[in-house]
């Protein structure tokens, strides 16, 4: 197995809006397999921007190295983004990345079963009922397979979102404030389940959260973004490792 699944060096992302300028700088980021990472920071520190970059929905302004590494070799994500190679990016996301969104990100027009089947269908695979039950049973969601998302509680929705993110065993799962809309106990449960399932599948998790306590409880390693004013209307935020 590779030493890391994602490697990133000297990445800069500049956002400008009128007179306001925000620079995000990541000197180095290496995500190792089957590890649980946390990313914290204050509001406006660039957590979401960082996640957009990792999710390949936003391209860096400058980067020295931005690679996905697997047994098959390295994929130069920076080049794919530069070339706007949508087919390759979509394929990379589909097979190697999972996402857990703040709102759950479930499709309201599909049942739980439909939401879970979708990644398989996109990847060209059929999924049996048995597999779906096996996936959902540990989360106690096997009884809710034919329900629509609006019929589920917030916690149940997030659980389904976690299952969907991990169902095709991706290399990395990016979780964007997955516990923002649930209470503390539920948050602990969901993150615990996320960590447990990811570990069982050898998946790396990067969870973004402003809840330092939650992150500290589960993360193997924590990154932090610290925004500092450079001059008026210009903020620079740099990523650093704050704890292991």
């Amino acid at each position: 197995m590779s030493a890391c699944v994602l490697e990133l060096r000297n990445l800069t992302k500049t956002l400008e809006s009128g007179f306001y300028r925000f620079d995000l700088f990541v000197p180095k980021l290496s995500l190792e397999p089957a590890r649980f990472y946390g990313l914290t920071g204050k509001s406006g520190s660039g957590k979401s921007t960082m996640l957009d970059l990792l999710a390949m929905v936003s391209a860096p302004t400058a980067v020295e190295k931005f690679e996905f590494l697997s047994e098959g070799g390295a994929v130069d994500i920076a080049k794919l983004l530069k070339d706007s190679n949508d087919v390759a990016i979509s394929d990379l996301r589909l097979r190697n990345f999972g996402y857990v969104l703040q709102s759950g990100g479930l499709f309201p027009f599909l049942t739980v079963r439909g939401n879970l089947e979708l990644p398989f269908r996109l990847a060209g695979r059929e999924v049996s009922d048995r597999e779906l039950v096996e996936l959902t049973c540990p989360f106690e969601m096997d009884q809710h397979l034919d329900k629509y998302p609006h019929a589920l509680s917030g916690g149940q929705r997030q659980r389904v979102s976690v299952i969907r993110a991990l169902c095709i065993s991706p290399a990395i799962v990016l979780a964007d404030e997955p516990t923002a809309s649930v209470d503390e106990n539920m948050a602990d449960a969901i993150v615990g389940e996320l960590k447990q399932l990811a570990a069982s599948k050898g998946t790396t998790v990067l969870m973004v959260s402003h809840d330092m306590e939650l992150v500290a409880k589960f993360a193997d390693e924590i990154f932090s973004l610290r925004p500092e004013p450079v001059e008026e209307n210009h903020i620079r935020s740099e990523m650093s490792v704050v704890g292991v």
Binding site: S70, L94, R121, A123
Partner: protein, 637 residues
């Protein structure tokens, strides 16, 4: 690279299936999830499409009814002669190959005539009359034939005739044909058998449809032409003349009025002024031949697609009678065989001839050569020795050849040599040339007893031409007229129908266009708004790895589903309303037939058009779906 990110267990073939299917699945599930909104869209399509279908169906039903009326009346598809010009069978062989001609058969007379019919019955003798028409297996009038087509003396009769005569299939009856000969009524009989029946509405009067031979035999007998096949004797008739050209010569310039009057009266295409030097080349007078070249104005009456007759020449001279001008007919030279040699023979009117010696002229005139068959010939000087060697015969044989397919196969004439002219060509009167030309229209025979040329048949003065469709009749009639065949057809009524159909088409098109523009706008805005409302879902699709090309197809798939369901609902509404229109409204309007009617092809075309339009209407939404920035969409949410 793609290898490196490809995981085991994902089959590319299955992938294509599932990815294609997943678009349809997502599109359908989304529409079903918002059932009421989708239903509104489907009803919008239905509300737009149903009135268009109904409008189009009423137009089709109305026009179809009119067309059926036209088609059921075969006279609308029939073209009849407008003049009694004589034509040979070969003309009709050519016409049969024209596009749009379903059937063409010549008739001896311009208008079919009636024959007397006699049927012996147990309670007496039935005497009646019926029109006799030639017919064959391919005759469209036999489309609803009960029994067999005409063969030999077995005929087909219309049902009204059969009813009046009290006969049916297999019954025998007698056709009686009469003619006046030497002030005496002569008659012959044909024993006919009813071979088949056709409905009375096919033809306007009680009719007997016989073989072409039967019709020809009847008309030949009436015209005095012998019918050896039936042992009917004929009365020899002098043939009529057929001129290729009629010229008008005048020492004074001919005025424009007289010129156009001349052209109109004899049916010429134009009266063209030509130089005196052109005349010899047109009628084939060899260079060096002396003749009275007309002085002053010389007009050539260009024929309008038919041969001139002796009557036309009389008519032309009648037009010119108050001037110093005169008209003469002429023909191009033709090759004949005489005294064992192939000789070019040309004709000149007597008024232009200058014989080699005055004695020859006197000699010829004193023998009383007739105008209609002037049987003298001026031999070429090159034949002088041979002529003398043969003992200066009083008459010489002249063999005239005709082309294949022409009624006269070969004509052997006996002419009186009455002098010599310079060169290698023989000269006869243009009247004789016109008689020989007549052989191209009817079979000719030289009668040695009277030293005259007689017609062996009367040729064909009429025809029945039936178009394959009423739409083709006006063009067909126009083509026949352009080729010199005067015709009568119901072109004006057909053109009126076509104009009405075109107008209704435009009307339906304009209404449909306006309605479809409205429908198109509704669908475009609805699909676009739908994508804007579901930005998060589209952003999530991108995040979980759905490529842009699949995202692009989702609104299109939804458009196809909405359009298809809307179309099916429209068809259902149409069927319902149409049946009400046809059952109740049509009866109220006293409309005979289906007031509202559409064919399967109309539904197929309408369905394809609606689905295609909806796809186009969804393109803006598809474009918007692929332009969604997932980062923006998810943050905004």
């Amino acid at each position: 690279m793609s290898e490196s990110i490809h995981k085991a267990g994902f089959s590319s073939r299955a992938g294509k299936y599932w990815r294609g299917n997943v678009v349809l699945h997502i599109a359908a599930r989304d529409l079903w999830h918002e059932f009421l909104l989708s239903l509104c869209l489907i009803l919008s399509v239905t509300a737009i499409l149903t009135p268009i279908l109904l409008l189009a169906s009423v137009k089709v039903g109305f026009i179809d009814r009119l067309r059926m009326e036209f088609i059921e009346d075969p006279s609308f598809r029939e073209i009849r002669p407008g003049s009694a010009d004589l034509r040979s069978e070969s003309v009709f062989e050519d016409i049969r190959n024209w596009p749009g001609v379903s059937y063409a058969i010549p008739t001896v007379m311009m208008n079919p005539r009636e024959v007397a019919v006699r049927i012996r019955k147990t309670d007496g003798i039935f005497r009646g009359e019926a029109t006799l028409l030639p017919s064959t297996d391919e005759d469209p009038f036999l489309g609803r034939l009960q029994g067999d087509p005409p063969s030999g003396d077995n005929v087909v009769v219309t049902a009204d005739f059969a009813e009046a005569a009290g006969i049916g299939i297999g019954d025998a009856f007698t056709i009686v044909v009469t003619r006046i000969e030497n002030d005496q009524r002569k008659r012959v009989q044909i024993d006919a058998v009813v071979n088949g029946l056709i409905p009375a509405d096919v033809l306007p009067s009680q009719t007997i449809l016989g073989t072409p031979e039967l019709e020809q035999h009847v008309e030949f007998y009436r015209s005095g032409v012998s019918v050896p096949e039936r042992g009917w004797l004929g009365i020899d008739m002098e043939p009529r003349q057929a001129f290729s050209f009629i010229f008008g010569a005048s020492p004074e310039p001919v005025g424009e009025t007289l010129k156009s009057n001349l052209a109109v009266r004899i049916g010429a295409r134009e009266a063209r002024r030509i130089g005196p030097a052109e005349l010899p080349s047109i009628i084939g007078v060899p260079a060096g031949t002396r003749f009275n070249s007309p002085v002053g104005d010389l007009l050539m009456l260009v024929p309008g697609g038919r041969m001139y007759t002796g009557r036309d020449l009389i008519e032309a001279n009648d037009v010119l009678r108050n001037s110093e001008a005169f008209a003469f007919g002429a023909h191009p030279a033709r090759d004949v065989e005489m005294l064992g040699r192939n000789i070019r023979m040309f004709g000149l009117p007597e008024s232009l001839q200058i014989p080699e010696t005055a004695g020859d002229v006197e000699n010829a005139r004193s023998r009383g050569a007739s105008l209609s068959l002037n049987d003298r010939v001026l031999l070429p000087e090159s034949l002088k020795d041979q002529f003398n060697a043969n003992g200066r015969p009083d008459r010489i044989d002249v063999q005239v050849g005709y082309d294949d397919g022409e009624p006269t196969k070969e004509l052997l004439l006996s002419l009186r040599p009455s002098g010599f002219i310079q060169g290698d060509s023989a000269m006869v009167s243009s009247a004789l040339m016109a008689l020989l030309e007549r052989g191209r229209q009817v079979p000719l025979r030289f009668d040695k007893s009277s030293n005259g040329i007689v017609e062996q048949s009367t040729g064909f003065r009429g025809f029945r031409i039936i178009g394959s469709s009423i739409d083709l009749i006006p063009a067909l009639a126009e083509r026949l007229e352009a080729s010199g065949v005067k015709v009568r057809a119901k072109s004006s009524q057909i053109l009126k129908l076509q104009r009405l159909e075109r107008s209704l088409n435009i009307l339906v098109f304009v209404v449909a266009f306006v309605a479809l523009i409205g429908g198109f706008s509704i669908l475009t805005s609805s699909f676009f708004a739908n994508v804007q409302r579901k930005k998060v879902a589209y952003a999530t699709m991108r995040l979980i790895g759905m490529p842009k090309r699949l995202v692009f197809r989702i609104p299109i798939a939804q458009a196809c589903i909405i359009a298809s369901l809307g179309f099916l609902a429209s068809v259902a509404c149409y069927v319902l309303i149409s049946s009400i229109l046809n059952s109740f409204i049509a009866a109220e309007l006293d409309f005979d037939g289906q007031l509202s009617r559409l064919y399967f092809s109309h539904f197929v075309l309408a369905g394809l058009f609606v689905v295609a339009s909806a796809c186009v209407a969804s393109l803006a939404a598809s474009r918007a779906a692929t332009s969604i920035d997932p980062a923006d969409a998810l943050r905004t949410d």
